[in-house]
Symmetry: C2
């Protein structure tokens, strides 16, 4: 009987746990799986929390894909509120906060990446000031709903950070009738090229968001321990609430001092089967992922990678051969509030990535339409396409546009997955009918224009 100990009961951990049991059953292997979760929830959708805050989701239970009860029913041993504080990889034991020691044969690290709270957000006791918080856990979501309710319409929210979560929270707050300021150290939406992030910025501003670019937050204004404003290097803003969405950090402190290698940022780098060291496996937000296009390790804490890598890990753990062969750096969101609606998507390298990889990128932004121009479904879309001059290889695609723009990125992601060229993207057989596309899909017009410039 192989004893598998999984640390963390969200997407990666639970995908691994269930797949390990399935594969073991199929292969006739004896396997026991124990899952330790330091929080109070399993398998919840962190990505759904902004939509719960916005009012799209009524019951936070809807964000839970599988409850602890459901997990237990499939033969797992699941311990909630149980935090691993130390691991001895030689003895193959894990010690939890209350001192209990778990012996294992195989350890699966799926501890995720909690949201970062900078020093300026913290009271001397290390907790956030009243009215200040992050957006990561179900508890965070519940706290924000209470704060929104308490503050009431017309109250003002400052969102620090303009990544995916920042933009999604700005949408939620506007839709709840709150005033919104977004502060970002960068030009906004740092995962997009400047010319594309400008389009998102415009939508935010048009929706009534006060957007401050290049703003480094230096501290809070306080009334007692309650926030009343935010200071940055260029100004101040009164605020009833402050949402901090400046990133996440791998929860791997308990591995420091073991032989499990960590990056400077504390991330793990598992192989396609999830192995990180002898008897130790990892997947999900505590890991970096391999980007196929330039074979680079990057930190992309996204549920879709966590699910895939977790599943491959679980299968491999039980003698299967599934593997997670990296990703192409695809992501998507939208901003829908204040009369604005934009879908935002990207896949592949940034221009900076391409130059760092020694490539010679050819880049162009094309404007077009999501449907035939005469159809009511036609919405404008801007598409940034980058290809390599020497090999014509497609390197990256970014889209900002109306309904139907965003998921077009998937066709480009498929070309990147296969190492295809910008000509493949331009000439392959995408679906056309007037409500859905122009006769040359706008993605293909954009690719063709880049192809013509090489």
């Amino acid at each position: 009987m192989t004893r598998v100990l999984v640390v963390g009961a969200d997407a990666a951990g639970m995908s691994a746990a269930h797949q390990a049991l399935r594969t073991a059953r199929k292969n006739g292997r004896e396997l026991s799986v124990t899952v330790l979760e330091r929080g109070h929830h399993t398998s919840y959708s962190a990505c759904g929390i902004p939509y719960w805050m916005a009012g799209d989701v009524d019951d936070p239970g809807d964000l839970v894909a599988r409850s602890a009860h459901e997990h237990l029913a499939s033969g797992l041993d699941l311990r909630m509120g149980t935090e691993v504080v130390a691991v001895d990889t030689a003895a193959r034991t894990a010690t939890v906060a209350n001192g209990e020691v778990f012996a294992y044969d195989e350890l699966v690290v799926a501890t995720g990446a909690p949201a970062v709270l900078p020093d300026w957000a913290l009271r001397p006791d290390g907790t956030a000031y009243a009215g200040v918080g992050t957006v990561k856990t179900l508890d965070d979501g519940g706290a924000w709903l209470e704060r929104f309710e308490e503050a009431g319409p017309g109250a003002h929210v400052v969102v620090v950070g303009a990544g995916y979560v920042g933009v999604e929270v700005a949408e939620a707050a506007l839709r709840r009738g709150l005033g919104v300021t977004v502060l970002t150290r960068t030009r906004g939406m740092g995962m997009l090229e400047d010319e594309m992030s400008d389009l998102v910025n415009q939508a935010l501003v048009d929706a009534g968001v006060e957007l401050v670019l290049g703003a480094e937050v230096t501290g809070l204004e306080l009334d007692g321990d309650r926030v009343t404003g935010v200071r940055w290097d260029g100004g101040t803003r009164d605020a009833d609430l402050v949402v901090v969405s400046v990133g996440v950090r791998p929860a791997t402190d308990f591995l420091r001092g073991t032989d499990v290698p960590l990056t400077e940022g504390g991330a793990l780098r598992p192989d396609p089967h999830g192995r990180v060291a002898d008897g130790v496996w990892a997947a999900g937000d505590c890991c970096e992922v391999r980007r196929r296009i330039d074979d680079a390790w990057v930190f992309r804490p996204l549920g879709t990678h966590a699910n895939k890598h977790g599943r491959a890990l679980g299968d491999s753990l039980a003698g299967g051969s599934l593997s997670f062969e990296g990703m192409t750096d695809t992501s998507i969101t939208r901003f829908a509030a204040g009369g604005q609606y934009v879908e935002i998507a990207r896949t592949g390298l940034s221009r900076k990535d391409a130059e760092a990889a020694g490539l010679d990128p050819v880049v162009l932004v094309t404007e077009g339409s999501t449907a035939s121009g005469y159809m009511p479904e036609a919405d404008p879309v801007a598409i940034w396409v980058m290809a390599d001059r020497a090999t014509r290889r497609l390197l990256g695609v970014q889209l900002v546009g109306g309904r139907g723009a965003g998921k077009r990125v998937d066709a480009a992601a498929a070309v990147l997955w296969h190492g295809g060229t910008v000509d493949d993207l331009a000439w392959m057989d995408l679906a056309y009918a007037p409500p859905f596309a122009t006769a040359w899909d706008v993605l293909q017009v954009a690719a063709r224009r880049v192809a013509e410039r090489i």
Copy 2:
């Protein structure tokens, strides 16, 4: 000076003509282009006509991508109302209906494929009975708008044929307040597998369409020369109007007797550059296209192929190297009327195609959601996935579902284009955020389930 004579001024012909001029300019070649069009319109969207009939488009001029005037401005010689009736490929001349003879160096056949009217629809003089017609040209569209107007709400339309056009016309008629019967010889939507076409049939019926499957039309009921009903092998139906959408046929009669090879159905089979014979080129609906997956020639008269092949042809004609490397049999439409909304898409082989190619297909239908289940955007979708048992190669994907279902087919089309496996589809990096997908995109869940069965 090379004299290029293009026959047909729609998607393929005009793509070829303009690209030939552009490439010639770039390459410093002397080229004159004359275009002969037997009709009165250039470069119009036949695909848009059902939406004009439905009321989405007010001005038929919106369906014209480029008018004759605009074409002339780019240096073409364009003759409207000029039908080629004979070609002498040895002498390199084309004779038009009024007897005029055009000498050419290179002939481009882009004559398209007019809609078929069966004998039962025709008066002794060869024209359709009053109230009966097809849906192909702008003139057809205008005639239908007049007939709809004249018949008034509550009138009854019988649509013969349940392909893309049949379903789109059923939508248009319902949205105009007409009663609709659809008769089809098959199970409906013959380009879909039965289990998928059943879903479309259900939507039609739920929208109030009277749908008769397996009905072979045998004749019309007439009052004088005006239709009053339709007879088929199993019954009759009173009708004020009869839309015939049973297919199209290549307009290549003027090539019979020349050395240009035609298929039994009268289609041309151009190479990737558009060549069909010495000095003769062809593209668009008068041609078959090569399906990459099984290397089969198939008749798929679609604007997207016409545009691509026309462009490659025009470039090649003027010394360029663009080529149309076939297609993967992708298509899409929707049915949106009577409270129903379904998107319908397919790419790749049918089960019958796969078996004819000697493959051993593994097939499964998966039901899922277009967005995370807790989001208001979540709509049901059914996905049919087929892969080859021996090689795991993806062979085909079909989708029927709500908003956002249809264009998902593009990601599958990209995998087919690259000759990828069902595992590529299952594991590649598709975009995830709650308004757009589940963490494993439903397309990937469907692919994974097939992968697990191989």
